[in-house]
């Protein structure tokens, strides 16, 4: 019958309207952003940051200034200068460290290639997105100090990925210790 579609549609909108008052959780799907936020997702990514272990961002920085990420970066937004001094890494091997590590996030295209090529798990993708800045050059060129973030923070934003990394690193340490002991035994038996 003519008009039945109109009645059906009106019933549907009336249901929606009343539902927003009766069952707001189901019907009002808006997340009021500055006050409310959705929980972050494991695979969310925005711009890279540098991971450090322990409390000191300078001493605990995992980066060894190997410059692989700098070479791999498609838009070439990473700039690294090697320091002259060395420091021991997590397995006790002496490694270089960067004296300068800059990422221009106005150039970065968030491709995650730097994370994938890094053999030292020193770089990870951040989920921070409220980066608006009045200084469009200096404010978006992040230096080593601003890039360094703790491993705990990394575990918070990427729990699964960090778990895998930690397991691998623990395995590396175990192997290194075993190797060292084997070498010591070989030396003492000689």
């Amino acid at each position: 019958m003519i008009g039945s579609g109109i009645v059906k549609g009106m019933a549907q909108t009336a249901k929606n309207f009343a539902g927003t008052y009766i069952a707001p959780r189901k019907y009002l799907v808006t997340v009021e952003y500055p006050e409310e936020r959705l929980p972050a997702k494991e695979n969310a990514r925005n711009f890279p940051f540098l991971v450090f272990d322990g409390d000191d961002p300078e001493a605990g920085l995992r980066c060894v200034a190997c410059r692989i990420c700098e070479k791999e970066c498609p838009p070439q937004c990473i700039y690294i200068e090697k320091d002259k001094e060395k420091k021991p890494d997590y397995v006790g091997k002496m490694q270089f460290q960067p004296s300068v590590f800059d990422i221009d996030i106005s150039v970065c295209m968030s491709c995650q290639i730097c994370v994938e090529v890094c053999p030292f798990d020193a770089i990870r993708m951040d989920t921070e997105f409220e980066l608006s800045n009045p200084d469009r050059f200096g404010g978006l060129l992040l230096d080593k100090r601003r890039l360094a973030k703790s491993n705990e923070y990394c575990a918070e934003i990427h729990p699964e990925e960090t778990e895998q990394t930690e397991a691998r690193r623990a395995e590396d340490v175990r192997k290194a210790v075993a190797k060292k002991q084997a070498r010591q035994q070989a030396a003492s038996s000689d």
Binding site: M1, M10, Q12, Y27, V29
Partner: protein, 391 residues
């Protein structure tokens, strides 16, 4: 309340010299109408947006003031401080006159609507015209002229298209609207809105909407009122997704606000007329409730119809031009003619045999006409439309 308002007016008028008294009286009648309906406009814009939001599962405006109720203040300030741009090739005079004329006509039509009645029989009506209904439609149809002036003077293709669509739509819907109103005139035997309201006094069973012809005429009138005030689903003259804003495209700042205001005032005028003609105007639904002032009843019914309009706007998609004209000429106009005949029969039957026989004899033809005309409007095949490539 009515007595209070009328006596305040009389005392204020008495302060003026005798020569100026008629003028002062009219000005004092106009002021509350202007104030109340402008306030209604501000409130309706924000409540409409909130209701539409709820219909679409979102909050709607809730940032300015408590629960977003100060939104119209922010909108108004924005509109006033915007630059007023007139196109270089536009006809400046007509371009300026169009919003003014539209707002004027939208306000003028309120002058014949009765809002209440004092116990001594005086009505709360700006002007009690003998031919109030004719005045209403004569002035109301000037809005078409204003819309066309706006479209023509802007020198813009979209404005022109919008104006042409508006003319086609408004003229098409004016015919069924007038015919559906004529049924009421036929029954109450008067063109004066005060008299028409008077015939519906004494309880809701006297309201015209509760008769077979009245109910149908009321729905026809509401549909035509939507079309006359360019509201969804009849908003093709200003269809945002097709011709941006139609005749209002070259207007900015306060002139645009005037168009907006006039559009809503036109809707309010149509709603007021619907309340007056079909819902008993300011009369309470049962006589025992007469202690509540008339304007409160009037605005109660007014708010219900406005809410219904908002509900429709949130539900129905826009009609196509041919569907629009088909609905007006193939369905509504014949329906209104049938209703006219049915109303005449009702008048005769219910006078001689009572309203029960009236219902018995008058509802079948209305339902029959609805079903048969509805089939005609559905196209040649009569069924729902089949989309070959979609299904």
């Amino acid at each position: 309340m009515e007595v209070l308002l009328l006596s305040i007016k009389e005392q204020l008028v008495a302060l003026f010299p005798a020569v100026l008294q008629p003028l002062a009286g009219h000005l004092l009648s106009i002021t509350p109408v202007l104030g109340v309906f402008a306030g209604c406009f501000a409130l309706t814009t924000v409540l409409e947006r909130k209701a539409l939001g709820r219909i679409q599962n979102r909050f709607g405006p809730n940032r300015v003031g408590p629960a977003g109720l100060l939104q119209p203040v922010a909108d108004g300030l924005k509109m006033i401080f915007k630059e007023d741009i007139v196109p270089l090739k536009a006809d400046r005079t007509v371009h300026f006159l169009a919003p003014v004329l539209l707002a004027t006509t939208a306000l003028l039509v309120f002058s014949v609507i009765p809002f209440g009645q004092a116990p001594d029989g005086r009505h709360l009506v700006p002007v009690d015209l003998e031919v109030g209904l004719i005045f209403f439609f004569a002035v109301g149809s000037l809005a078409e002229l204003a819309v066309f002036m706006a479209g023509w003077s802007s020198r813009n293709k979209y404005a022109m298209l919008g104006a042409m669509r508006a003319i086609a739509q408004m003229i098409s819907y004016e015919a069924p609207m007038l015919l559906s109103v004529l049924t009421v005139v036929l029954i109450s035997g008067s063109l004066s809105l005060v008299d028409i309201v008077g015939t519906q006094a004494g309880g809701f069973w006297h309201w015209h909407v509760l008769t077979p012809w009245g109910a149908a005429a009321f729905l026809l009138f509401l549909t035509a009122a939507l079309a006359e005030s360019n509201r969804s689903p009849f908003d093709i003259p200003e269809a945002e997704s097709e011709i941006i804003a139609g005749h209002m495209i070259e207007y900015s700042g306060f002139k645009y606000a005037l168009f907006f205001l006039a559009e809503y005032l036109g809707l309010f005028a149509m709603t007021s007329l619907a309340v007056t003609l079909f819902l008993g105007g300011f009369h309470p639904p049962i006589p025992q409730l007469a202690f509540v002032p008339g304007p409160i009843w009037f605005f109660g019914k007014f708010v219900v119809i406005i809410a219904f309009f908002i509900w429709i706007r949130g539900t129905l998609p826009r009609l196509r031009m041919d569907q629009l004209l088909q609905l007006a000429w193939k369905f509504m106009l014949p329906m209104a003619v049938v209703l006219l005949i049915v109303a005449a029969a009702w008048h005769r039957i219910s006078l001689t045999w009572g309203p029960v026989f009236g219902w018995l004899f008058c509802s079948p033809p209305v339902i029959m006409a609805y079903l048969m005309l509805g089939r005609g409007g559905a196209g040649k095949k009569g069924g729902p439309r089949v989309y070959r490539y979609v299904n």
